[in-house]
Symmetry: C2
Subunit: 317 residues, 2 copies
């Protein structure tokens, strides 16, 4: 009998899965640390998004055929090992698109509507009726990446009257973006943008993609938002760009090294607002990822292959 091991609890969805797939054995663990070693021996399918799933772990699972990764970014997994062992990989792409789009908009509005200044005024009992918040209507937003999340975000920003430009590998046009260019051309495109949003996944090509030169080429009024992966830019390069005022402000949810230590200079960097890699969080995520998993499991059992959210092991997304 096929065996699915989950390194996380899935709540109500566990019963749902067990009822719908009575020819499959499911084991749900609260945490990888409590996993029964015997389960590694005979698991066929693994559900997780925990960093404990590394090369050693995978080598200890000789029957593993499919990893259902319940997050979007798969960069912590050893792609070479998966390829070598012919293990398929799916992710939770799409599950996070609404939360991430809402967060991108939350950052933009927090900045443009001077929310922090109003909050500080309130704590000081100051009533400043002369504040001049700016309209986002008419602003130009450049996305690094034109996948599911930027596409969904662009749709929302367009209704707000904002203009959207997308950068992707070869510059192919994508619905919802007024203009698209290749990532290679980016230095000549930055000047078009008031807001630049990185939503790129971590791959060999995107690690430290943004260098000092990139920030120098941006408008000095640029608002930079990073909800992709922290490794897109070295921490010190970002700090320097803000301190030398190459860009005006940054909202950052992902970092080169996570979690941040208490003494990280980022906490005190001027004009940097940070959140703790929470833009993908949400109680709805597990349920939605489980539904994608169920669809794929049905096809897997029918031997007609996985169909949703299959990760290309060569591309890494």
């Amino acid at each position: 009998m096929l065996k699915v091991v989950s390194l996380m609890r899935l709540g109500d969805v566990e019963n749902e899965l067990e009822e719908n797939f009575d020819n499959v054995t499911f084991k749900f663990y609260k945490h990888p640390a409590v996993l029964d070693e015997a389960d590694k021996e005979d698991m066929d399918i693994l559900i997780s998004y925990h960093e404990a799933v590394d090369e050693t772990f995978i080598n200890e699972c000789p029957n593993l055929k499919w990893i259902a990764w319940f997050a979007t970014g798969v960069n912590s997994l050893p792609m070479d090992v998966l390829k070598e062992k012919d293990i398929q990989l799916t992710n939770a792409k799409g599950v996070h698109k609404r939360q991430l789009s809402e967060f991108i908009l939350a950052y933009i509005l927090d900045d443009y509507k001077l929310m922090k200044a109003s909050y500080e005024n309130q704590t000081k009992h100051v009533y400043d009726h002369k504040m001049q918040p700016t309209l986002v209507d008419g602003e130009r937003v450049l996305f690094l990446g034109t996948g599911t999340i930027p596409k969904h975000t662009a749709k929302i920003l367009n209704v707000l009257g904002m203009h959207t430009i997308g950068l992707n590998t070869d510059g192919h046009s994508v619905e919802g973006f007024e203009e698209t260019y290749s990532i290679e051309e980016r230095h000549h495109i930055y000047h078009k943008a008031d807001i630049i949003v990185n939503v790129l996944p971590e791959t060999n090509e995107t690690i430290h993609l943004l260098k000092s030169d990139d920030f120098k080429a941006m408008n000095d009024h640029t608002l930079f938002i990073n909800v992709g992966r922290g490794t897109i830019v070295e921490t010190q390069v970002l700090i320097d760009a803000l301190e030398s005022k190459e860009i005006r402000k940054a909202y950052v949810d992902v970092f080169e090294n996570e979690p941040l230590n208490e003494d990280s200079p980022l906490f005190e960097t001027q004009n940097l607002f940070l959140t703790a890699h929470i833009t993908g969080n949400g109680t709805h995520n597990k349920t939605e990822a489980a539904h994608i998993f169920a669809t794929n499991l049905k096809h897997f059992l029918n031997k007609d292959g996985l169909i949703e959210n299959v990760v290309d092991l060569n591309k890494g997304y």
Copy 2:
């Protein structure tokens, strides 16, 4: 020659008006305090949104035929006097719709994305990866009012997957709202909403419309937003509703008595976030209001009447 007196400077638009209307005399003042008394004698048209324009002021302008009010709310003007003297009134309705819609969304996202908690964590060097921000997608928003601003806002919220309900005088249906009801029925409708937004103007009917009973009838998880007029609810009634947890939280930009004094209890009210009546501010406002004015002035000179943004003196909006 027709004489237009403006109690505010209009920047570049001044030249534009003077060039386009060479048969009209314009006088632009920085402030009502510096107005030449002689101008009161012969002005035909007044541009302002200053509280100095009261019954006494109007009585000193025997030739006044039209007040072009450069704000949306006209509640500070003596309607009876205008009616009696047959003075027409236009306002700046529509000029503020984008800024107000963006602010309503900024408040909602500030709350749902736990922005204040992230901000406080940053100041304390705390990295809390476990925060669970909620999706606005799927939430139900009830608007008190279905005019220009709520209609524009509803359009944006719908793209975010939010549901919109509108309340207006007689419950007539309005494009963009999934459901509409009359304001009289409101106590039976509140339970449908996660978020309640007041956008009503101040009229005899709306002053102190919301009583303690209203807040008791709302869900206790309700987020209440007021960007209409502060007089919709007595200050103490709002404070009581928050302190007794009839509602969860409030974002308020307008107050029963403005400006707030340093010792206003509102600065310290739990779960109340306030901004200083700034949701209508923006450098673009004057220009847009001036364009509405120019259109009306053309028609006024042709004697075919004002056509844009005419205020019904009986209704007060």
